[in-house]
Symmetry: C2
Subunit: 372 residues, 2 copies
């Protein structure tokens, strides 16, 4: 068993008003107990990675330095955004929520994983190597590549958790915004297979077409004049009282309002609105302005933050196990991710690529291939 001497990982560090991205050496030790060393072969850039990678940095201020194999990028952080990153001042933080690769070294209690291709989750995956514990990796089924398994956690488990939440909280249908995203497409396939009524909120005809191809029956396009009516009509048809919102800002409140409109439409006036509880979970930040809820939505509503690890902790080990098994079984069907660009770890810090991540559009998806 040879422990590589030249491992690198991508780091993000804020010092005063400067953000620095760089590749930093990591010293690896012989794995003990149930530890494994994974040679990372593939790690996606998810929207949820951008907060740590770029945060509030102004991409137009990017400066490039360092060497060809150890590039360094620096960015200015706008004055008014500094308080939001005060807590990470001076800390050099590893990046990358998930990825997959091959186990090249294993402790005495993890020998069964030697040579296996595994997926993992929980940070530091933009790296040549990543240390993990056996219980935290997902061995991929025979025939599945690291690329197939690179995005086996964040989007698949989040999509499944939405349907689980619907069941656990007694709702009958789901509204989802940014519904044509990679995650949204997974959710559409789950809802189709499980007969869950899904209302997809999109921003363009092109996105609507993606959802129609996945048999999504109810689609509301927020770029259209009749968006509110279309959404409320769909809510009435499926009795929607639950939404997952990747956007925030005023959209979160419009989702509550549409559900309330549908619930009160044919009812006698009640000054407190419908007594049916309406829940919006805000799990993304495509709009960074404050989440806004108008006062015309009655008194039975909640808007809440939503984070996959919190759901997993609440759901308990059986639900966790069932979800992971389903992901493994449907890795190349329901949960297949389509990547538009592959970049090496050094190319991941290419200025042009950074500019592309920052304005990541639906359908564009980067994969970092550190061993590529």
């Amino acid at each position: 068993m040879t422990i590589p001497a030249n491992a690198l990982e991508l780091r993000s560090k804020i010092a005063d008003s400067t953000l620095t991205l760089s590749l930093e050496p990591v010293s690896l030790e012989e794995p003990g107990g149930d530890q494994v060393i994974v040679a990372m072969e593939a790690a996606p850039i998810n929207p949820s990675d951008l907060g740590l990678l770029l945060g509030p940095a102004d991409v137009s201020t990017m400066k490039s330095s360092g060497s060809a194999d150890r590039p360094v990028l620096t960015f200015a952080i706008p004055e008014q955004a500094l308080p939001t990153v005060a807590a990470r001042q001076g800390e050099s933080m590893p990046v990358g929520n998930e990825g997959a690769g091959k186990v090249i070294a294993a402790g005495p209690d993890a020998q069964h994983l030697m040579g296996r291709t595994v997926a993992l989750f929980g940070g530091s995956t933009y790296a040549t190597h990543r240390v993990a514990r056996a219980k935290d990796v997902l061995p991929l089924p025979e025939g599945a590549s690291a690329r197939d398994g690179a995005a086996a956690f964040v989007n698949p488990l989040t999509a499944l958790s939405m349907v689980e939440t619907m069941r656990m909280e007694g709702h009958k249908a789901l509204i989802h915004t940014a519904a044509a995203s990679n995650l949204g497409q997974m959710l559409a396939r789950i809802c189709r297979d499980d007969n869950v009524p899904l209302i997809g909120v999109v921003r363009s005809d092109e996105q609507a077409a993606i959802l129609r191809d996945l048999d999504v029956k109810y689609i509301a396009d927020s770029s259209k004049d009749d968006f509110r009516k279309t959404l409320a009509d769909a809510c009435a048809l499926v009795d929607a009282t639950l939404a997952f919102d990747a956007v925030g800002g005023s959209l979160s409140g419009e989702l509550v309002a549409a559900m309330e409109t549908a619930l009160t439409r044919d009812e006698p006036y009640n000054r407190y609105g419908s007594p049916r509880h309406k829940q919006v979970y805000v799990y993304g930040m495509l709009d960074r302005s404050p989440v806004q809820v108008p006062r015309s939505v009655g008194m039975s509503w909640s808007v809440s933050g939503y984070l996959l690890p919190h759901f997993l902790a609440k759901a308990g080990p059986e639900v966790n196990k069932a979800m992971r098994e389903r992901v493994a079984a449907e890795l190349t069907t329901t949960f297949a991710s389509h990547f538009t660009s592959e970049v090496s770890l050094t190319e991941a810090l290419d200025p042009d690529n950074l500019r592309a991540y920052a304005k990541m559009a639906t359908g564009e998806k980067y994969l970092i291939v550190p061993q590529g």
Copy 2:
């Protein structure tokens, strides 16, 4: 048993863009089963009554007509507010959430209530008479007057429900806004007696003094420059993760932010914020602008509408019973209301009084005394 022939009740009706307040005749029938007829002696004007009484009407457009004993007031409703009242167009609605009076007629199954002074809840209390079912009235203890019991439901039960919610949801302390209100003073007395840490948010030195007199230790004044720091410091001292907010607007989000600041202050940076769940219940609408939550509060938070009847339905009969018994036992101490003005039912529609309700300040409290 004589059934009065000339009963009147206050009605609020919106037709097109005009709001009309008037006293309308009610025909009373011989009570059957467990019905009683209560001659109303006292009914408070609570903030929660103003929505139905005046709603979004422009008080500066008030016109007076009708006769001395059947006054009529009309108001214009601003164009932009019409959608918020679309559902009550054309409906003549009785007003008044609670009150107390004497049982003057009772059905065969409610004879034990004849002559008793009772408090009641649930609408139509701005009236000379109100029909109710025996199970829905609270017979007042010996020696308590209708004035003592007029406000025995809305504020006392809401204040008690806040402490119950804190216990049921596993929080350790309470934040309350508009904390020097009539309701706020009741809550302060409950928290003092039950040893519940309370943070009172107020808007002036005068309000802070009211709370200090009630032994409230943690007071944050939103009119001061150091409001955010004072509030976050208090949150840290009592480990606050729950707030009840009578205001809304941006204050709701500032409460979440203060709790989050306290929870993350001495912790290592976590880009998802503190995993501790922070809950704000918005139960009032002193600020009618949208409820706003900034994006710097992490991912573990909920902002929700809150309505007493929904809590009572969820809490179950035992909690309901215990709460009502405590209110009856402490009616003239913990739950004493102080009224600054008493008006008859016709005086309730006096233009000067209407103007006063509309800008009701903390400490001002009207009591309608229909038999007065």
